[in-house]
């Protein structure tokens, strides 16, 4: 404290004249007032939306999709505590969700205890199981970030996935572990027989976990996680052990991953090796990166987008994973900020009140680009069908049009669509760039 008082009593230092002097009090004061309040509005909107969603999308399959989405959101947010907030790239994070889920399944099958446990409390056990595993693994894996951490995470991930056929008592071997959530003690009369009951249970945990994870990022250890991510050495010279900061993030992340696993157990009532393996770990990395690691809400967008791809697109085409892969590569190469980064790029534009300058150029470039890409996707489908369909089965349907894949005409049409669409997009791209520069430059100023 003495430091601060002393600092306050110091006269204002002489500032060299050549440096820019804007009015310091104004903006700084406003920011200070603003920074004292944790923004409540987005949370209220999110909660209201979650409550209302089942009234908009009423059928059971939509609710199933939303349940999966919510679980993925929690898992992706937990994963981003490592990747985005703490700078730790994990290739084996599915094991924390998986172990949490398996543990919940065992609690479910532990009938005497489970009969006295209200189901909404079950995910807590998953969280504790995930956290316990993270406590052990983190004690050696967080010693350094970077490649060493990534390799250890991969190794541990493989190790535990391999255990699923070795430690059959816990992981249930190849058929996994299944149970019945309705044996829990009824929660205010609700027995969770319906998908919609489960939906609200998951929605409750989604809001709670997301809020807690957000608040965690606002605490001293959460802030230092960012600092350690950016510059571990400097953090050490500020009194913080980079390793312990990483460890705390890791343990917290394990907890929330375990919560997601517990919710998975409730929703599907079965866990198998698939919940632990590297493929699942890869998916969560993809989801998080697609959404954007740089912003807290990035993984939320990523989880929504990916779940839609996975569920809606997979009904349309067998090749959905291929498109997801292409999207991921494109994200890494062209917009590393992810979907959230793309959205947030536009904040300055709106702040300058120049958003309408972008509408026409966007239509001119992005619409043909989208049509061209769809044409390209149609070609991919055509090739796939041509090569893999059973002999004699020449009929296929792309974009609600049925035609003969061995005929030359659809090839010509799709090549033309792809070529013209992408061609127009390429032609108009420079003017879009120009419009973008114009829209991001304050009037009368240069950047």
């Amino acid at each position: 404290m003495s430091q601060i008082e002393q600092a306050k009593n110091e006269p204002k230092g002489a500032r060299p004249k050549e440096q820019i002097t804007t009015d310091p009090s104004d903006a700084a004061q406003r920011m200070r007032a603003g920074s004292m309040i944790i923004p409540v509005t987005p949370w209220v909107i999110a909660a209201v939306l979650l409550v209302l969603m089942p009234f908009i999308f009423t059928d059971n399959s939509a609710i199933t999709i939303m349940n999966q989405m919510s679980i993925t959101i929690i898992f992706a947010l937990a994963y981003n505590m490592l990747l985005g907030q703490g700078g730790m790239l994990s290739f084996g994070h599915a094991v924390y969700a998986g172990v949490g889920g398996f543990f919940c399944m065992h609690v479910m099958n532990w009938s005497d205890f489970f009969a006295g446990l209200p189901l909404p409390l079950l995910p807590l056990f998953g969280g504790l199981a995930g956290m316990s595993l993270a406590l052990v693994v983190g004690s050696f894996s967080t010693r350094s970030a970077g490649t060493v951490f990534a390799m250890i995470s991969l190794g541990i991930g493989e190790l535990i996935a391999a255990c699923s056929v070795i430690i059959v008592a816990f992981f249930g071997g190849e058929e996994g572990v299944s149970g019945n959530r309705t044996y829990a003690q009824p929660f205010f009369g609700v027995e969770f027989l319906q998908q919609i009951d489960v939906y609200y249970l998951i929605a409750f945990w989604l809001i709670l976990s997301a809020l807690l994870m957000y608040l965690f990022s606002r605490t001293p250890v959460g802030r230092m996680a960012n600092a350690v991510r950016d510059n571990p050495e400097r953090a050490e010279f500020l009194g913080y052990s980079a390793r312990w900061v990483r460890y705390y993030s890791f343990v917290a992340s394990g907890f929330f991953a375990g919560i997601a696993g517990g919710l998975f157990a409730i929703n599907y009532e079965i866990l198998t090796e698939e919940n632990l393996n590297t493929a699942s770990s890869g998916v969560i990395l993809l989801v998080t990166f697609l959404g954007g690691v740089g912003f807290f809400f990035g993984p939320i967008i990523g989880a929504i987008a990916f779940t839609l791809l996975q569920t809606v697109l997979s009904l349309q085409t067998e090749l959905w994973a291929f498109y997801a892969g292409v999207l991921f590569v494109a994200t890494v190469m062209f917009f590393p900020g992810g979907l959230a980064g793309l959205l947030m790029m536009h904040v300055p534009v709106f702040r300058l009140g120049k958003a309408r300058l972008l509408i026409i150029p966007y239509l001119k470039t992005l619409l043909p680009a989208a049509i061209g890409l769809l044409g390209l996707a149609g070609l991919v489908e055509l090739v796939f069908h041509y090569r893999h369909a059973a002999t004699g089965d020449n009929e296929m349907t792309v974009f609600w049009t049925t035609f003969d894949s061995h005929n030359i005409l659809p090839w010509v049409v799709l090549i033309a669509i792809a070529g013209i669409g992408l061609g127009i997009a390429k032609k108009t791209a420079p003017s879009l760039l120009e419009a973008w520069n114009e829209a991001t430059t304050p009037d009368g100023g240069t950047r």
Partner: protein, 252 residues
């Protein structure tokens, strides 16, 4: 009285090359001490040994009489020793304000807390703002630290270094690569923020050294060849031969 910092028989070898060849040095409380020497003399290595960035091959470092052997940098920092770096070492993606606030967290006792909200802590906000005021970066408060000008980043680095209230402050070439006016500005800043503290600095700019330091040590090839008041050191023929002469030659 125990000295603020005491080095005894400090040695450091990298493989066969001995970079620091037995240093004994004692720096009193509230003393401003400059370490000078030609390039490659081992000044930065000496700093890194004191702050445990590297372990010494031999010898001890004592801070307020406490032996620092085997301690990690963060433990040494908690004992009240803080340092800056020759290459600007800040958190480039975080805002200027956050940079300073992070530097306050440990010393204000928040440790690894995950139950305090940093935004709601008036002591943190006001403390960080007081530091920003001191280093004249209030107007840059909400910019990412990475976009500041070089001199501003150096000022921020000094701010981060002193923010924790450490009573022993080590600055590694705080004015390196600066224009004359920037150097004057940083020198004034250092004088202001290290009031009443022990300051140990490595510096090439003789103007800064003679303007700031109470005592000077001259390091040549890993050994201290002279320690004393600026005027005595300046008059020392060995120093003139080994360092000042060489430096003058280099300038011509």
């Amino acid at each position: 009285m125990t000295p603020a910092l005491e080095l005894k028989g400090l040695r450091k070898s990298f493989g066969k090359a001995e970079i620091i060849r037995g240093i004994d040095l004692s720096i009193g409380k509230a003393e401003r001490h400059a370490v000078i020497g030609p390039n490659g003399a081992g000044k930065s290595t000496l700093f890194n040994l004191i702050t445990a960035r590297f372990p010494p091959t031999e010898g001890t470092v004592k801070l307020h009489g406490q032996d620092l052997t085997g301690m990690q940098p963060f433990q040494i920092n908690r004992l009240g020793l803080s340092r800056s770096f020759q290459i600007t070492n800040i958190f480039p993606k975080m805002t200027v304000f956050e940079n300073v606030r992070c530097a306050l967290l440990w010393s204000q006792g928040y440790k690894y807390s995950f139950w305090h909200m940093v935004n709601r802590k008036r002591d943190l906000t006001e403390g960080a703002e007081a530091i920003l005021e001191q280093i004249n970066l209030t107007e840059r408060r909400n910019l990412p630290a990475g976009v500041l000008s070089y001199a501003e980043q150096r000022a921020l680095e000094i701010g981060i270094t002193i923010a924790g209230g450490a009573d022993v402050v080590m600055l590694d070439e705080p004015t390196a690569g600066m224009s004359n006016s920037e150097t004057d500005y940083i020198t004034d800043l250092i004088l202001k923020v290290t009031e009443g503290k022990t300051l140990i600095m490595v510096e090439h700019d003789m103007g800064v050294v003679f303007g700031l330091a109470d005592r000077i040590s001259v390091l040549v090839y890993g050994e201290i060849i002279a320690t004393g008041k600026p005027e005595d050191v300046r008059a020392d023929p060995r120093v003139q031969e080994a360092y000042l002469g060489a430096a003058l030659e280099a300038e011509h």
